[in-house]
């Protein structure tokens, strides 16, 4: 199915819904892996908004990306409870081991910061391709990343 058909399908799904923009953008991102600029105008038309308004919303929220990620997304928690359990050190080690920084994509792997996963009593916490990891360590995460990207 091409982009336009898929988008039309998503827009139809949310027709008439109050405050439909965020649900639409979530669906678009789930379908395309990011929110391509090409969808701004059709979404704006469907919701009777200006294109700039849609663009403004996309850029406001950290979740919405303008480019696809790697096939594997690793999220590392930077917030206080994880810091208290050596989270900053864990992130630094992993960055060194993988030769990349938070916010970067290298090959198949995207490394991202997240601010709290609600796992603060089993910190430090991370997420590897949607799988939550508590009591994490750099070594354990490295092994998991090697496993998923094998």
């Amino acid at each position: 199915m091409n982009t336009n058909d898929r988008l039309a399908e998503i827009l139809a799904l949310h027709r008439g819904r109050e405050g439909a923009l965020l649900p639409i953008l979530h669906d678009v991102q789930a379908a395309f892996g990011h929110v391509p600029e090409a969808v701004y105008q059709p979404i704006a038309d469907a919701l009777r908004l200006g294109r700039a308004e849609v663009a403004g919303v996309v850029s406001f929220y950290h979740d919405f990306r303008d480019a696809p990620t790697g096939r594997h997304v690793i999220k590392l928690c930077r917030a206080e409870a994880c810091q208290s359990m050596g989270g900053a050190d864990m992130i630094a080690r992993l960055e060194t081991a993988l030769g990349m920084k938070l916010g970067e994509t290298k090959g198949d792997v995207t490394l991202e910061a997240v601010f709290c996963l609600g796992l603060c009593a089993c910190a430090p916490a991370a997420e590897v391709d949607g799988q939550l990891v508590g009591r994490a360590s750099a070594a354990r995460l490295e092994a998991m990343i090697a496993e998923v990207s094998a």
Binding site: L22, E53, V57, S84, M85, G118, L119, C120, A121
Partner: protein, 507 residues
């Protein structure tokens, strides 16, 4: 044989799914009939995955379990990870679980289990006594907003009830962005019908027919469980065209955030719900009068709403019998960070900070002395062990230049770098600011730079930082910019040596 393995996100993050799979295969090998129930969590996160088996009518706990520990479950007791009857574990036994009474006991999506454990009794009572008397119960309970601001819930509901409008809304704030907090998540994953019941009661009281649960996108498990629970309650005719088949209409829907901490602030949340950027709105107008889509709206935290069914079932005065001063009832305390026994502990207000951290939490996980505890999330102050006599209550913590917030406590051992934590507070504000006011948007960035100068040994920088904090506190529209100085200033106050130019020389 019945075996419970929590399906809670924290339990899963600690390996519960692998343990559940190992149980199924071990049972298969032995040809033993085993029913695995994925319950919510008991909140004792340091013991997760905490598996339970019924022995002579009492549920015995085993944990923290690994797949390797599973085969021994099918052999003779005692098991090396045996904890005894789970409700007799001191951490559990010392609690007053009203809001979390059901959480962890059963399959969160079983309507039969919910019904059997006082489910829908509060809603039935509301249908009997009507809106006015329901609001009186809530007022009598002394319930205050658990989302941070501590506003009396009864007054909020009455404002919405008294407003004339064609459409009113109940919005549940499940944005729970505070580090150190996870009670909203546990409640939604472990007892979703309780939140639905609380929202339905609020809807009846306020005259609203539509509700939204706004859940942060970082909580996919909570989103899934809440959606399933709403669908199950609608299928059973509990919500929908007629509440419990006899009341007015109430429809409920989950909306998902998009990774913005500021969307926990209620007016930002409402903008987000309407499909806009999450900019904070100036108040007035109050959301109670002009909230979602311009209509009168109750915005309440998950824990405020989840306390409601118990209050309606047992009465407002029974709830108010717990607590301290103007903090009535119970508070689900979240003990997190570098702590030996981390998890959720519900108790009447008034325990001392020290009792929570040392007595309940058991001190640090590292075994080193406690250095500081941040109370109330990223906008909350740090406290030191010298302040451990402080009672846990809204006014008591505010009087000590802190805040209770969402009742999360993050424990740090002596390795904590307070300057780095202060800088992080400013950085977080810079990243998450909605951008509406200058003191917050620009101030936070200046704050980071100034703390870098402090770290580099600049003697003037600390005075500059204090001025900047003052400007942020006084000139910010909301608590994001207004309270970010709390962690910064408390760190400086408690650990001045770490902010002096001597720092470099000493290291």
């Amino acid at each position: 044989m019945k075996i419970w393995v929590p399906g809670d996100a924290a339990a899963k993050a600690c390996g519960a799914d692998a343990v559940a799979a190992a149980i199924a295969s071990a049972a298969g090998l032995r040809g033993q009939e085993v029913t695995v129930i994925r319950n919510g969590t008991r909140g004792m996160v340091w013991l997760e995955p905490l598996v339970e088996i019924e022995v002579d009518g009492a549920r015995h706990g085993f944990g923290p379990m690994t797949p390797e520990d599973v085969p021994a479950l099918f052999e003779e007791f005692p098991h090396p990870k045996a904890l005894g009857p789970v409700e007799e574990i001191p951490f559990f036994a010392r609690q007053t679980r009203l809001t979390f009474a059901r959480c962890g006991r059963s399959d969160p999506l079983s309507l039969a289990d919910y019904e059997a454990a006082e489910g829908w009794q509060g809603l039935r009572r509301t249908l009997e006594i009507g809106a006015g008397a329901t609001i009186e119960e809530i007022t009598a309970s002394g319930l205050r907003g658990r989302g941070g601001a501590g506003f009396p819930t009864g007054i909020k509901w009455k404002t919405v009830a008294d407003a004339e409008a064609a459409q009113k809304y109940i919005v549940c704030n499940a944005d729970e962005g505070d580090s150190g907090s996870f009670a909203d998540r546990m409640l939604m994953e472990g007892d979703p019908f309780c939140l639905i019941e609380g929202m339905a009661i609020a809807a009846l009281a306020a005259g609203a027919t539509k509700g939204f649960v706004y859940i942060r996108s970082e909580y996919p498990d909570a989103i899934r469980v809440m959606r399933s629970a709403i669908a199950a309650a609608a299928d059973a005719g509990i919500i929908g065209p007629a509440l419990l088949g006899q009341g007015p209409r109430f429809d409920l829907e989950v909306r998902v955030g998009a990774g913005a901490y500021i969307c926990g602030e209620e007016t930002s949340l409402l903008n987000s719900l309407e499909g806009k950027r999450g900019m904070v709105r100036a108040k007035p107008p109050l959301p109670a009068l002009e909230g979602a889509f311009g209509m009168p709206t109750v915005v309440n935290n998950v824990l405020s709403l989840a306390a409601v069914p118990w209050i309606l079932t047992h009465g407002g005065t029974a709830y108010a019998a717990f607590g301290l001063g103007r903090s009535r009832g119970t508070i689900p305390i979240q003990i997190a960070g570098n702590v030996k026994q981390g998890g959720l502990f519900e108790a009447g207000f008034g325990m001392s900070l020290g009792d929570i951290v040392e007595g309940i939490g058991g001190g640090t996980a590292s075994g080193k002395p406690v250095k500081a505890v941040q109370v109330g999330g990223p906008l909350g102050a740090y406290f030191s062990p010298e302040q451990f006599d402080l009672p846990f209550g809204y006014e008591e913590l505010a009087d000590a230049q802190g805040l209770l917030g969402h009742a999360g406590l993050t424990v740090f051992d002596e390795s904590a770098d307070m300057l780095a934590l202060a800088r992080y507070a400013m950085e977080f504000c810079a990243i998450e600011s909605c951008g509406k006011c200058t003191p917050c948007r620009i101030g936070a960035v200046r704050g980071m730079e100034t703390l870098d100068r402090v770290a580099a040994g600049d003697e003037q920088a600390i005075a500059l930082l204090q001025d900047l904090c003052e400007i942020m506190e006084k000139g910010s529209l909301c608590a994001m910019g207004g309270f970010t100085p709390y962690p910064v200033r408390s760190a400086i106050r408690l650990f001045p040596d770490e902010f002096t130019p001597m720092r470099e020389a000493a290291e």
